[in-house]
Symmetry: C2
Subunit: 188 residues, 2 copies
């Protein structure tokens, strides 16, 4: 009976926040985010209760999008190494193709107003990656370490590789492959 909520604005705000935070950091003002999103600063608060709420939703959104890009087209009827390489490439490709999303996500990863709940939701999106890593490494030299540790190491190598790909884009593909080989030697 009343004016319905826009289904455009929430996603416009999410997109605007991604851009503004990528360039200004997490201290970007809600006013700046609203302006970039083409929305009044008042409206921002009809779709997101607080700034922290916006940051949490943004975090889950970006992480989910990353996970989907990473897992796209994955089938388990192939060689394990081939599957792992595909996931790896798609992961790093997403990160370097959307530098603003990747930078904002990196900032949110170390922010303290991301709740444990949001982190849990986000990590659920990565379940398939975890499973694949387990299959890949279950007979390797790290078989006796916690899977979480192996995941953490893989993440560390991937992040380092991404950073270097961004820093030296001309040879991005070479670095991507070299990063995968390093991960594989380490794990399998």
């Amino acid at each position: 009976m009343a004016r319905p909520r826009s289904d455009i604005k929430p996603s416009a705000i999410i997109a605007g926040a991604t851009r503004v935070i990528a360039s200004q950091g997490l201290s970007a003002s809600t006013a700046a985010i609203a302006k970039e999103s083409g929305v009044s600063n008042g409206s921002l608060f009809t779709y997101f209760e607080t700034k922290a709420d916006l940051l949490n939703k943004l975090y889950v959104e970006l992480k989910t999008e990353m996970a989907e890009a990473t897992l796209e087209g994955l089938t388990d009827d192939r060689d394990l190494r081939e599957q792992a390489l595909r996931v790896w490439s798609q992961w790093l490709n997403w990160a370097t193709s959307y530098p603003e999303k990747r930078r904002t996500l990196a900032l949110l990863n170390v922010s303290d107003d991301i709740t444990a709940e949001s982190q849990q939701t986000a990590s659920r999106a990565m379940t398939e990656v975890r499973k694949l890593l387990n299959r890949v490494s279950e007979n390797g030299p790290m078989r006796d370490t916690p899977l979480e540790f192996r995941l953490s190491l893989m993440n560390g190598v991937a992040e380092a590789t991404i950073q270097f790909m961004i820093h030296d884009p001309a040879d991005a593909d070479t670095h991507c492959t070299a990063g995968f080989e390093a991960f594989w030697r380490m794990t399998v």
Copy 2:
């Protein structure tokens, strides 16, 4: 002829800032830092021109301290692997022994008011580590990648290991060794 500057206060402020920033993040107020350091908020600005200046000095101080702890007692008359393991252990041991310093340093590492100059000063403190890594990896599978890339990967694996050691302190030593072995397989 005038009242001399205290040689205690600057270091007290550095130490206080480390503690407050570890617990409150980089947005900790200068007033809170001054209070924690036992100094009036006015005095903080007689020793550090601006908050950014304080953060830069703090960054260089912590990074230098970390480098010194990492390199302590290193001699090049031994087996390369032994040297590398020693450096690795001392690095990770420092990081887990001083969680506040490590957390504050981690925050400063991604802050945008750390100048390029500070980063350069800090990285100069790590020259010996770079040299050692080069000797360790110059005949390994990554010999054709940029040394900076190898350094970035080593850093990634070390950070991941540190995080996991902090997360599961009971088995810290095991994780430290497992991390080193992973690094070694990857690099050598």
